[in-house]
């Protein structure tokens, strides 16, 4: 297990999600595929946090500050932000799906042809 193998898994997850977004006709299925794409990005973020180091820690002399040590985990904080934003996005997207279903009695992307009903 190294950085490259984890990144390949992340890219595969992202590509499967992209395929779903492009090929599915049902809106809920597209939302599920979007979640897969989010997860691919998150795996890459955590992989970078695990396998790469901030530049401040690379020099072999001098002192190491607590702040530069903490920045080694910035990727985890990024992941927290992405998870929270993805959750908000999913809630909003499903609300839109319900509103659309009430207006058109359909969940097909091809039926979403106008902004107002």
């Amino acid at each position: 297990m190294n950085l490259e193998s984890v990144l390949v898994v992340a890219a595969t997850l992202f590509s499967i999600g992209l395929f779903g977004v492009l090929s599915r006709r049902n809106i809920i299925a597209v939302i599920m595929s979007l979640e897969l794409m989010f997860n691919g990005v998150l795996v890459a973020t955590i992989a970078f946090a695990r396998f790469t180091a901030p530049a401040a820690l690379l020099s072999s002399s001098g002192t190491v500050t607590v702040d530069s040590l903490r920045t080694a985990l910035s990727g985890h904080v990024f992941a927290v932000f992405v998870i929270a934003i993805a959750a908000a996005e999913t809630a909003l997207a499903l609300a839109l799906v319900f509103a659309f279903y009430r207006a058109r009695q359909s969940v097909e992307l091809a039926d979403a042809t106008q902004m107002k009903h």
């Binding site: 990144l7 590509s15 090929s23 049902n26 897969l36 795996v43 180091a53 929270a84």
Partner: protein, 211 residues
């Protein structure tokens, strides 16, 4: 490879098992015609991703993944699927499947090409003993010229901490409160806005019930 950052072969096997679970479940999500089965596969894919987080020493993110994705988002999508029961036609794939597959495979090939042709500055290039101790060993904090500095813990040192990559939760909390406080508070605002927005969108307007 430097010894302190390497992974054991057991962990590597666990990583490949979790990856296979994640990717097989993800393929099922996008190919199943029945949306209920898609949601179940999606939950399994999320669990596989959580396992990958645990393997990558990100236990806090792994727990958040299980709570938020497996516990909340999967259930939310399952509710949506069960409310809107057009499931027989729902899973049908569209005509431009070949085009979608080509685009996805091309993207995957491009990313893999870039991944293997980039010189990553790996964590095993961290050689400073204090830095290595601060990441994966035992370290102590000292005050020097107004800055907090990290020293490798010796046997007689009293208040030593476990390295930030081994014990990550506390460090994430410190980062959120100290370095990323404004984005963190803005995130709370965004969640409130999303909550109110979802309620406004989904609210049944007077007169809607007739048509």
């Amino acid at each position: 490879m430097n010894e302190p950052f390497s992974t054991s072969s057991t962990v590597t096997v666990a990583f490949y098992a979790a990856s296979v679970l994640t990717i097989v479940a993800a393929v099922l999500v996008v190919t199943q015609r029945d949306l209920v089965r898609s949601v179940v596969a999606l939950a399994f894919s999320f669990i596989g991703v959580a396992a990958i987080y645990f393997i990558l020493n990100a236990e806090f993110i792994g727990i958040v993944q299980i709570l938020v994705y497996v516990g909340a988002i999967s259930i939310l999508i399952a509710f949506a699927v069960m409310f809107i029961r057009d499931l027989t036609i729902a899973g049908a794939l569209s005509k431009n499947m070949l085009l979608s597959a080509t685009a996805s495979v091309l993207l995957l090939a491009a990313v893999i090409f870039v991944v293997y042709n980039t010189e990553w500055v790996g964590i095993e290039e961290v050689t400073h003993p204090d830095a290595v101790a601060g990441l994966v060993g035992e370290y102590t904090e000292h005050e020097q010229n107004g800055r907090r500095i990290v020293r490798i813990a010796s046997s007689e040192s009293e208040d030593s901490y476990t390295g930030v990559m081994v014990d990550s939760s506390g460090t994430i909390g410190a980062l959120l409160i100290r370095n990323y406080l404004l984005p963190f508070e803005t995130l709370g605002l965004l969640l409130i806005a999303a909550l109110i927005g979802a309620l406004v969108i989904i609210r049944e307007r007077r007169g809607d019930a007739k048509n």
